[in-house]
C-alpha cells in the first residue's frame, strides 16, 4: 500500500521551510525537509518561496507534490500528493495590539498572557479604571494604529458600563478610519456582553468572540481565547502578505503563528510525558527567541524579539568563554545586528555566538516571567520549576558545532534546578509538527515517539547553601556489567559522566544533608535511571547563582573550563 504523506510549511522572516512526513515504515517519520528564501513582501508572493522549497523536496525524494500549475497536490483520500498540510508563520512585524481591560490585576495582566503566543506587540493598554474621559480614550485608540484590539475584563454578569463605553469607541475606530485592512477585534470579556459587542460593533468577520478568560475571581482560562486569537491572527496576516489567502486555500488550512504551533507540539509532548514534570521548549532563531512552557495544564510563553542594548553587551561580556576585548565584542554584536545572517567562522565568533545565545535566552525567559510570574524564573538563580525534557530548537542552537556546546548553552542560560533532560530538535520540527497536529495528530505523536529529537543528556543540579569547596554530593554510577564508578563533587564543580552507548545506566545520588538535587527534599537522594545521551550525565554543583570571578580573564577562563569539562 502506498504511504500516506503530510506536508508542513513554516514561513519565517528569512526562510520558508517545508517538511514531508510519511508512514512508509508503519509509523509516521520525517521523509525529507528543505528550505528556500522567504518571499514575504508587498511586491512578491509568499507562494514563490513555498514552491521553491517544495521543488527541492520533489528533487530529493522523487515524489510528485506539485501539479503543472505549481499547486500542491492534496487529496484527503491519499490517492495523489499529500493527505493534508499544516501552515505556520513567523514572518512579518509583530501585530500592533491594543489591550482594553477593566483593571490591571483582573484583566490587563490576563490579556497580556493571552496575546503572548500570537506574535503581537502591545502598543497600548487601556485600563478602564483609569480616569480617562471618552474623548481621550478614543484619541488613544486611534493614535495606537492598532491592527488588533483585544477586549477583556468583567466577571460574567458583573458590571459592564465601562466596557460598553469602550466597545462604542472601538466601533468608531473600526468604522471610520481608512485603514488598509480593517482592524481585528477579539472580545474575551464578560460573557453577558458578548452579544452586545457583536451587535454594536457590526464588524462581521473581523470580530472574534471568545469565552471570558476570567469568568470568576481568581479563575483564568486563556485557552478559551485561543480560537478567536488564531482567527484574528490569520485575518491580519491575510491582509498583509500577498499570496497567503491562496496558499491557505491550496493547503486547506489557515495559517497559525509559529510560536503557537510550537506550543501545540510542546503540549503534545507534555501529554505524552509520564514523569509529571512540565515541558519547556526554547526556539532560538536569529530574529527572536520563543519560550514555551507547559505544566500542570498551564501554558506560558511568548516570543522575545532580538534587540541589542548596552546592558546586553555587558551581559554578553560577563558570560563569554574567551578573553575578548570589550570594544571588539560590542563591534561584533552591532555588526551582527546589522547582518543577522553572519555565521561564526572563527573561535572568537563561536564563543560570541554562544554567549549571545545565553543572553538572549535569559532575556526571553525574563520577559515571559514578567507576563507569567508563576514561571518562577530569576536570571541569576535560574528556573525554579521542574521541567523534563527541555527541548532546544532554532537555528542558533541547532547550528552549534557540538552537542556539548548546545547543552552548556542551555544549562547556563536556563539554570535549571533538580533533574532534567535536554533534547535537541535538530530538524527544527517543533512548529512543523504543531501545525500538522490539527490535521493529523498521529503524525506529531508518532514522530515524537520515534526518538527524532536528539537526547543530549541529563543534568543534575545540586543546590547547596555551602561555600565553594564544600562537599555537596557523592555519585555512584552503575552501568551493569562494568564496575561501579564513584565521584564526589564539591560546590563550584561541574562533572560530566560519560555513559556506555546503548546501555541504560542507574546513578545513585547522595547529596549532603543541606543539598537539594530535586528529589523532593533537601538532603534526599536516590537512584536515577538515565538513558544514554550525546553528552552523558552532567552533575552541576556550581550552585545558583553561578559564582564567577570579577576579573574578565579569570571569568572567561572559568567558563571555558566548564566547557572543557563537558568535552570542549
Amino acid at each position: 500500500m502506498a504511504p500516506n504523506f503530510y506536508l508542513s510549511v513554516d514561513i519565517g522572516r528569512s526562510n520558508t521551510r517545508v517538511w514531508l512526513f510519511d508512514d512508509a515504515y508503519d509509523a509516521y517519520s520525517l521523509r525529507a525537509s528543505a528550505q528556500s528564501p522567504s518571499t514575504v513582501g508587498e511586491r512578491t508572493d509568499v507562494r514563490l518561496g513555498f514552491i521553491a522549497a517544495v521543488e527541492k523536496i520533489q528533487d530529493e525524494t522523487g515524489i510528485n507534490l506539485l501539479d503543472p500549475r505549481k499547486h500542491l497536490l492534496i487529496d484527503s483520500e491519499g490517492r495523489i500528493g499529500v493527505r493534508g498540510a499544516g501552515l505556520s508563520l513567523s514572518a512579518g512585524e509583530p501585530i500592533r495590539t491594543t489591550l482594553i481591560g477593566v483593571s490591571e490585576n483582573y484583566s490587563l495582566a490576563a490579556l497580556r498572557r493571552l496575546v503572548s503566543l500570537f506574535h503581537t506587540k502591545v502598543v497600548m493598554e487601556i485600563n478602564l479604571q483609569d480616569d480617562l474621559n471618552d474623548t481621550a480614550q478614543l484619541e488613544n485608540l486611534i493614535s495606537s494604529q492598532s491592527e488588533l484590539f483585544v477586549i477583556g475584563g468583567g466577571f460574567d454578569e458583573g458590571a459592564s458600563k465601562r466596557i460598553r463605553a469602550a466597545i462604542e469607541n472601538i466601533r468608531v475606530v473600526y468604522h471610520n478610519l481608512p485603514g488598509l485592512a480593517q482592524p481585528q477585534i477579539v472580545y474575551a470579556g464578560n460573557r453577558s456582553l458578548a452579544e452586545y459587542a457583536e451587535r454594536e460593533l457590526e464588524a462581521g468577520p473581523d470580530l472574534h468572540l471568545a469565552g471570558n478568560i476570567q469568568p470568576l475571581e481568581e479563575q483564568e482560562d486563556l485557552q478559551v481565547g485561543w480560537k478567536a486569537m488564531l482567527a484574528a491572527f490569520a485575518r491580519v496576516r491575510e491582509g498583509q502578505i500577498p499570496g497567503l489567502v491562496e496558499l491557505q486555500k491550496q493547503l486547506g488550512q489557515r495559517v497559525i503563528p509559529t510560536t503557537f504551533a510550537t506550543t501545540r507540539t510542546t503540549r503534545i509532548m507534555n501529554s505524552m510525558n509520564t514523569n509529571g514534570k512540565g515541558v519547556l521548549t526554547l526556539d532560538v532563531g536569529a530574529g527572536g527567541v520563543d519560550v514555551i512552557v507547559v505544566q500542570d495544564g498551564l501554558v506560558m510563553g511568548g516570543r522575545h524579539q532580538t534587540s541589542l542594548t548596552t546592558r546586553d553587551i555587558q551581559h554578553t561580556q560577563a558570560v563569554i568563554g574567551m578573553g575578548l576585548d570589550k570594544e571588539w565584542l560590542a563591534t561584533a554584536l552591532y555588526n551582527k545586528q546589522a547582518h543577522p545572517g553572519i555565521l561564526p567562522a572563527t573561535l572568537q565568533d563561536i564563543a560570541l555566538e554562544q554567549a549571545w545565545a545565553r543572553v538572549r535566552i535569559q532575556n526571553a525567559l525574563n520577559s515571559v516571567a514578567e507576563v507569567f510570574p508563576t514561571l518562577n524564573y530569576d536570571p541569576s538563580v535560574g528556573l525554579r520549576r521542574d521541567f523534563e525534557p527541555i527541548v532546544l530548537s532554532g537555528a542558533c542552537l541547532t547550528g552549534m558545532p557540538t552537542e556539548r556546546q548546545v547543552f552548556l548553552t542551555g544549562l547556563d542560560s536556563i539554570l535549571p534546578h533538580g533533574i532534567t533532560t535536554f533534547v535537541l530538535d535538530k530538524d527544527q520540527l517543533m512548529p512543523a509538527l504543531g501545525s500538522l497536529a490539527a490535521v493529523e495528530p498521529l503524525v506529531a505523536i508518532q514522530v515524537i515517539d520515534s526518538g527524532i529529537f536528539i537526547n543530549l543528556g541529563t543534568a543534575v543540579s545540586v543546590i547547596s547553601p555551602g561555600k565553594i569547596g564544600d562537599q555537596v554530593i557523592s555519585v555512584e554510577v552503575d552501568e551493569g556489567e562494568s564496575p561501579r564508578e564513584h565521584y564526589t563533587l564539591t560546590k563550584g564543580e561541574i562533572k560530566r559522566i560519560e555513559l556506555l552507548p546503548q546501555t541504560p545506566a542507574h546513578i545513585y545520588l547522595s547529596p549532603a544533608s543541606d543539598s537539594d538535587v530535586g528529589m523532593g527534599l533537601v538532603g534526599l537522594g536516590g537512584w536515577l535511571s538515565v538513558s544514554t545521551g550525546k553528552v552523558g550525565v552532567v552533575i552541576d554543583a556550581r550552585g545558583r547563582p553561578l559564582s564567577l570571578p570579577e576579573d574578565d580573564a579569570a571569568r572567561s577562563e572559568k567558563i571555558n573550563d566548564w566547557l572543557w569539562e563537558l568535552g570542549g
Binding site: G41, E139, T310, Y334, N335, I342
Partner: protein, 349 residues
C-alpha cells in the same frame, strides 16, 4: 547572502505608499521632484465624544427627541447637535466643521477638523507604476551607495567628502564649511568632536564606520546618519571610494533607512543623473559567481572588499567548528582568504 548596490549608474525603484487607502496624485510617466506628494488622504483632525445624557440631563429614552443631527451627517461650526428645551434650555454645538460619527448609548461622537496625510517621494524620478488607492513606484537612475546602518531620517543637499583636522579649533576657517551639506567622513570621531561637527549644521552625515559606543548618540541626532560599512574602525574600500568621488559636490539624497534586506530597505545615498545607458525597469536578481565583487562581513575582515576567485562545491570546516559553504576571495590587498558564503555581501556595481 545579501546583495548591496554600490554603483555609479544604477536603476533605482522606490515605492511610496500610504499606510491606508487614499488618493493617488500622480500618473504613470509623470516626472516627480523630491518632496512632491505621491498620494494623500484626508483624516479628521480630532474627535469628540459628548455624553448627551449626563451633560444635558436627559433620560436615555429622550435621546431621539433632542438630537438635531444624525450619524453620518456633516456639521458646520456652531451647528446645534443636541438641544434640550425647557425652562433651562441646554444646547450642544459643534465647535468646528466635521461629521457626526455615531449617536449611541447616550453619547454622540464627532470627527472635527481635517488634516491631510501625505506620502512624498524622497528622490526625483519618473512614475513607473501606480498602486491604486495607495501610492506609486518611482524609477530613477544615478549613482547609489547602500550602507549598513541608518538612523531612520532623510535629507537632501550637496555632498561633500570632508576631512577634518580635529587637533585644530573649529573656527577661523580651520574646519570646512558643512552647513546644509551631506558630509562624508571616513570615520566617525569621538563624541566631543561628533558634537562639534553637528554644531556646524550639516544636512546629513555619512561615515564609513563608527565605534559602537556612539550608536545612542547617532541614533538621536536630528539629521540623517548613515554608516556605509558598519561598526568598528573600518576604512573606506576602493569600490565605494570611486563612487564617492562621483557624488562629491553634487546634490544627493540621503535616506538613512533602517537596513532590512528582506524588504529591500537599505540606508542609501543617491545621486540622480541622466544615464547614457538604457536600463530595464526592474532590478535584476544577482547571483554570486567567479569574478563577483564582494564585501566581507565577519570579523576580522569586516568592510574590506575583494573578488571571488573560487566557489568550492564542497562545504568545509571552519575554525569555529562549523561546516559551511566556503567562497575564496582575493581581497584588494591581494590576500586570498576563505570565508563562509553567508559572511559576504555581493556588490552590484
Amino acid at each position: 547572502m545579501e546583495v548591496v548596490r554600490i554603483s555609479k549608474d544604477q536603476t533605482v525603484l522606490r515605492r511610496y505608499v500610504l499606510p491606508c487607502k487614499g488618493k493617488v496624485l500622480v500618473q504613470i510617466g509623470q516626472s516627480v521632484a523630491p518632496g512632491e506628494p505621491i498620494a494623500e488622504v484626508d483624516l479628521p483632525g480630532r474627535f469628540q465624544v459628548f455624553d448627551v445624557v449626563n451633560s444635558l440631563h436627559v433620560k436615555p429614552g429622550q435621546m431621539e427627541k433632542i438630537m438635531k443631527r444624525l450619524a453620518g451627517e456633516e456639521v458646520k461650526v456652531g451647528d446645534v447637535i443636541a438641544q434640550k428645551n425647557g425652562l433651562f434650555s441646554r444646547i450642544f454645538r459643534a465647535y468646528e466643521d466635521g461629521k457626526v460619527l455615531s449617536v449611541r448609548e447616550g453619547k454622540v461622537t464627532l470627527a472635527l477638523g481635517e488634516r491631510k496625510a501625505q506620502v512624498s517621494t524622497a528622490i526625483p524620478g519618473t512614475i513607473v507604476e501606480v498602486i491604486p488607492d495607495r501610492g506609486a513606484v518611482v524609477s530613477a537612475q544615478g549613482a547609489l551607495i547602500q550602507g549598513a546602518w541608518g538612523n531612520g531620517l532623510s535629507a537632501a543637499g550637496p555632498f561633500q567628502v570632508t576631512e577634518i583636522d580635529y587637533t585644530k579649533p573649529d573656527r577661523n576657517g580651520n574646519w570646512p564649511d558643512m552647513q546644509g551639506k551631506i558630509c562624508f567622513l571616513e570615520t566617525c570621531p569621538r563624541l566631543e568632536n561628533l558634537r562639534r561637527i553637528v554644531n556646524r549644521k550639516p544636512a546629513g552625515l555619512v561615515f564609513c564606520s563608527a565605534m559602537p559606543g556612539l550608536v545612542p548618540e547617532l541614533r538621536g541626532l536630528p539629521i540623517p546618519v548613515i554608516l556605509l560599512s558598519g561598526f568598528g574602525d573600518i576604512r573606506i574600500d576602493p569600490i565605494t571610494s570611486e563612487v564617492l568621488e562621483v557624488l562629491d559636490g553634487q546634490v544627493v539624497y540621503s535616506n538613512a533607512l533602517q537596513r532590512e534586506p528582506e524588504t529591500d530597505s537599505f540606508p542609501e545615498v543617491f545621486l540622480p543623473k541622466v544615464s547614457e545607458q538604457v536600463h530595464g525597469l526592474f532590478e535584476s536578481p544577482e547571483t554570486l559567481s567567479i569574478g563577483s565583487k564582494v564585501r566581507l562581513l565577519g570579523m576580522p575582515y569586516t568592510g574590506s572588499v575583494g573578488e571571488v576567485v573560487e566557489i568550492p562545491a564542497a562545504a568545509e570546516k571552519f575554525a569555529s567548528g562549523l561546516v559551511l559553504q566556503p567562497v575564496v576571495v582575493k581581497r584588494a590587498d591581494e590576500q586570498v582568504i576563505r570565508v563562509p558564503r553567508e559572511n559576504l555581501e555581493l556588490l552590484v556595481q
